[in-house]
């Protein structure tokens, strides 16, 4: 199968999976306990790495931007730059990439292992739909957890930026806070929440699809896991571009 045909085939399979997830959500049975477990696994389990990622990203933004801003005498706007960049772009994207790495790989490996050990076949033989039992709870959990993780990342990013500005460059906290408030508005916050909702769906669908289509034993599990992380990460970055354009048009805003 050539790459174009393979891409179209994968796209078709993901479209079918999406449809089956939607049907599953509508008709049930709904696996509430599994969904809550997944929220715990995905949300609470990823919180520490997301906080660290956000904190140091905010810090490094100030670290790199402050000297340039100071050169132009605009150092009081440092908070605005960090806030806008984090809330609109880096917060959602970096959080999604971290979750794609941590959770996407885990989902793909878990489902892939179940496929090669016939547990998925056993599930179907026992009258349970693997899509409803395994896929839907994970996607719902990602849709709920990713925006919350993004907010955590944004908040700790701003805190990290503020600490670096204060400790390294001696910028007054009040000035920084005021600048942050000027830098973001409600549209940014809404946009920053919409993106992770979409990213959650993308990561969940790709990871579950790759897991369910695993072939070839344990080697196949490794391949599908790698493929899931790579595909989800690239898809998140590509989707971010188009989402940003749509949100810019919708909210009539531009960066800076």
């Amino acid at each position: 199968m050539n790459p174009v045909s393979k891409f179209l085939y994968e796209l078709q399979e993901i479209a079918f999976l999406t449809w089956r997830v939607l049907v599953g959500i509508k008709r049930g049975p709904r696996y509430v306990t599994e969904t809550i477990d997944q929220m715990d696994e995905i949300g609470v389990g990823s919180l520490v790495i997301i906080i660290l990622t956000g904190f140091f990203t905010g810090g490094v933004l100030i670290l790199q931007a402050y000297p340039t801003l100071a050169f132009y005498g605009a150092q009081t706007q440092a908070g605005q730059g960090v806030a806008t960049t984090l809330v609109r772009e880096l917060g959602p994207v970096l959080t999604a990439l971290m979750v794609a790495g941590r959770v996407g790989s885990a989902i793909s490996a878990e489902i892939g292992s179940m496929v090669v050990s016939q547990q998925i076949d056993a599930m179907r033989a026992l009258g349970t739909s693997p899509v409803r039992k395994l896929v839907t709870p994970r996607i719902v959990a990602l849709i709920v957890a990713l925006p919350l993780l993004t907010v955590a990342s944004d908040v700790f990013g701003l805190i990290g930026g503020g600490l670096v500005a204060k400790q390294i460059y001696g910028l007054d906290t009040t000035v920084y806070t005021s600048s942050v408030r000027n830098g973001i508005n409600i549209d940014d916050v809404i946009g920053g929440i919409i993106k992770p909702l979409v990213f959650g769906v993308i990561i969940g669908l790709i990871a579950c699809h790759k897991g369910l289509s695993t072939q070839g034993g344990t080697v196949g599990v490794g391949k599908s896991t790698t493929s899931a992380v790579v595909s989800a990460s690239i898809s998140v970055i590509i989707a971010d571009f188009f989402l940003s354009k749509v949100l810019q048009t919708l909210f009539k805003t531009t960066l800076f």
Binding site: P29, S113, M114, S117, Q118, Q119, D121, A122, M123, R124, A125, L126, G127, T128, S129
Partner: protein
């Protein structure tokens, strides 16, 4: 002591068709029927006009070398894959064109024992056996009662709280059998359940299949490539003695076994169909080589 009483006190298997006998008209309808079933993956023909039927209470032993399509037959019965042509009927119901939701209903009357057990790694033995009942929202007290009955049937009640990783290969298969029997399926499919097991454990698995056939009136397909399995299943039968214990007797001592037949697959086609005695006398060189290994 009646058989039902015996089962309750000793083996405690599921309440099955044995206690509610099928009427004659129902018994005529085959439990499983394949008619000219064909399946190919790309250019590779897996099944070529395969036709056979499994009667009520019958065990059909499916023999054949690796890659001859044995497990494919089981996957087709479960609707995990669809045939390219032909017809598959379960309990007289044509399921060939059934979509997944309809197959879910049909699968409820089929128990499946996988080659390696296919137990859910993240669930305990109890949760594995209880899986179907939990999915149906059965009350927990009833679930525990049923799970313990099933585990007693496979002599594994002591392992109820263990995780699959703590079990030996034979124990995993037996838990798989217990899980397959929950819900009182009228059809049980065995996909090479003794592969890789030591002879005594393999014998135990075969005895469970014999008990299901002779004491539970379960129709089954037993996929294997091990001749020992054929010997056990086609020459021994289970009875309940006067003390209520299950005994295994050899064909010929009291009666001749008529509810077990063999089909042998070769290159996706049925190379043989009939009794084990006929199989052993077959002049076909492929069958001869398969039976004797040379």
């Amino acid at each position: 002591m009646s058989l039902a009483e015996h089962l309750t006190e000793h083996e405690a298997p599921p309440e099955t068709d044995f206690e509610a006998p099928l009427d004659n008209r129902q018994r005529i309808v085959p439990a499983i029927e394949f008619s000219d079933v064909e399946l190919a993956f790309d250019d590779v023909v897996v099944l070529d006009k395969v036709t056979f039927r499994v009667r009520r209470g019958e065990t059909k032993i499916v023999l054949g070398g690796s890659g001859t399509g044995k497990s494919t037959i089981i996957n087709l019965i479960l609707g995990l894959i669809k045939p390219d042509s032909g017809r598959i009927c379960i309990d007289g119901e044509d399921v060939t064109e059934y979509e997944e939701p309809e197959m879910m209903r049909v699968r409820k009357k089929i128990g499946m024992v996988f080659q390696e057990g296919a137990l859910f790694d993240s669930l305990s033995v109890y949760e594995n056996v209880a899986y179907r009942l939990h999915e149906e929202g059965v009350d927990e007290d009833e679930v525990e009662h049923e799970v313990r009955r099933m585990l007693r049937f496979v002599n594994l009640e002591d392992a109820i709280d263990k995780m699959p990783i703590e079990l030996s290969g034979g124990m995993r298969r037996r838990v798989g059998i217990a899980r397959a029997l929950v819900g009182n399926p009228s059809i049980v499919l065995f996909d090479e359940p003794t592969a890789g097991l030591d002879p005594p454990t393999a014998r135990t698995i075969c005895e469970l299949a014999i008990k299901l056939r002779d004491l539970e009136d379960v129709s089954s397909i037993f996929v294997t490539h091990e001749m020992n399995n054929l010997d056990y299943l086609s020459s021994e039968y289970a009875i309940v003695d006067e003390e209520g214990n299950v005994e295994f007797e050899t064909e010929g001592e009291r009666l001749c076994l008529i509810n077990t037949e063999v089909i042998m697959l070769k290159d996706g086609k049925i190379a043989f169909s009939g009794k084990d005695e006929q199989l052993r006398m077959s002049p076909d060189p492929y069958i001869h080589r398969f039976i004797r290994g040379k």
